[in-house]
Amino acid sequence: MLNDMNSLIHFQDVNFSYPNGTIALMEINLKINRGETIAIMGQNGAGKTTLIRMLNGLLRPTSGRVLIEGEDINTSSIGSLSKKIGIIFQNPMHQLFSNTVEEEIKFSLKSLDLSKEEVEQKTISILNEYRFEKYASHSPMNLSGGESKKLAIASIMCRDPDILVFDEPTLGQDANEIKFFLDMLKKESKKEKTIIMVTHNVEFAFEHVPRVVLMTNGRILADGPTDRLLTNQTLVSRSSLILPNVYKLKLGLKTIGWEVPDNIIKKADMVKFLSNYFEKEKSEVN
């Protein structure tokens, strides 16, 4: 095939407008490689959710092409694309409907052409993995907000897609829940899964996601390493974001005359750097 086989996902000059004429995406060119973790960020209405809905064919480009493993998505159905690409939407209430947690998982497995034994086996293993054994026969409607979000994730993960897409995964979550999500992300990333997340969470993306695509008004504003893009004041404010706190601290320290090496980027670097100073100070005092 002539297409660039190295990139798993390839948007080629993609434009999209809704039937009512609203232009949602303009000239999108984007390549994502296998095993990458990438964040798509930008103000509300910038086209982020439109973009991810193209990955499994929920929306089709008005012009241009979206290729997955070199194949145009227009040649496949939503059903077959969804085997490769799992999108986890923001609101779990939009997908939970079964009588029990177990049935909810089985519904997701139904369209995969598995034998009865395989379905049973997969259901049990995913329920264990997400610690739902106790709730297997409970109604999904009675789960807490955090638990139902977890179930929505499990209901996609059991289909074992290669590409995972999350829409605002950390929204309204507390520290425990974010930790759970992060652990899962690391685990899946080790398995060579490609992970794409739409998020407003600057701190999370800066710490844990290596690459970011910034969007504004239906266009890609910038695409590159998180370290560089999220510390660029112009880009950050044009995409309605704010600078990460670690970076703000670094700038602040410089203004009060501290020399902060360039390789101090993440929280852990900053802690190490500061602890040197604070230790030194302590010993001098003593």
């Binding site: 507390d174 520290a175 974010i178 309605s240 990460p244």
Partner: protein
């Protein structure tokens, strides 16, 4: 007199065995900027619903104890008449915009209270200036961005001139820049109007340096309610699974005295300047 006072209040929703609120003792005073924080499901929303009588009048269930708004019991005073004392802005602005244009949206609450159209006009004028939404007056809710919707939702409560304004995760669905703007707007309103603003929020970074008091909740109980400094110095704060401010979490790892851990950039820089490394 306290704006709102809880006397050993318990509540469980109809059909639930577990108490959503346990032995709540709390008083909210005037002219304060307060943060309400806790893990998800710790009862923040339920606590808020008690403050204008939605619990137990709208959300029924089993309750014990008393909640008073300016000395009036919330179990018997109609919610409508409490609305001019306590105003609540809920999580999803879209569900609060119930008319087809912003001007009507602002008028709605006052119409219900039987205020004359002339006075309504004056109040609209005042409130749109404060919340900077004059240019949106003739727009429909679905023509507004999320940030604008939230401003209108805030204005539609502000216009009732409550002494206590409560916001349940007001920035949840907003982009970070807008979220910061909304928090700053709320601080401005609190100072100019001398009202109390109480905000339930997950993103502590946005507002921790602005608040006077913090209430921490866990499993339906209030763990602590005190001035910002006292709460931050407490172990309760450190042990709770909430999203700590980034600055705090960095300095926490330096094994400093709990009392001297900065929470905001300004404090952090002061702390470091004071060290004077050079």
């Amino acid at each position: 007199m306290s704006l709102v006072k809880f006397h050993n209040f318990y509540f469980r929703y109809k059909g639930n065995k577990i108490y959503a609120l346990n032995d709540i003792k709390l008083s909210i005073e005037k002219d304060k900027f307060i943060l309400l924080a806790g893990e998800t499901g710790s009862g923040k929303t339920s606590l808020i619903r008690c403050m204008n009588g939605l619990i137990p009048q709208f959300y029924t269930g089993h309750y014990k104890g008393i909640v008073e708004v300016k000395g009036r019991e919330t179990t018997t005073t109609p919610i409508a008449s409490l609305s001019s004392e306590v105003g609540i802005v809920f999580q999803n602005p879209e569900n609060q915009l119930i008319t087809m244009n912003v001007e009507h949206e602002l008028a709605f609450g006052l119409e219900n209270l039987g205020i004359s159209p002339k006075l309504i006009k004056e109040r609209i004028q005042e409130v749109v200036e404060l919340t900077e939404i004059t240019h949106l007056l003739s727009k429909a809710p679905f023509e507004l961005s999320g940030g604008e919707q939230q401003r209108v939702a805030i204005a539609s409560i502000l216009i009732l001139e409550p002494k206590l304004i409560i916001l349940d995760e007001p920035t949840a669905s907003l982009d970070p820049l807008y979220a910061q703007k909304i928090i700053n707007l709320l601080k401005k309103i609190q100072e100019e109007k001398k009202v109390t603003v109480l905000i339930s929020e997950h993103r502590l970074d946005l507002l921790i340096s602005l608040v006077d008091e913090i209430i921490l909740m866990k499993e339906g109980s209030i763990l602590i309610h005190d001035s910002t400094n006292n709460v931050l110095e407490s172990e309760v704060f450190d042990n709770l699974n909430i999203n700590k401010p980034v600055i705090y979490s960095i300095f926490k790892q330096l094994n400093l005295d709990q009392k001297s851990i900065p929470i905001s950039l300004e404090q952090a820089l002061k702390r470091c300047a004071h060290k004077n490394v050079k």
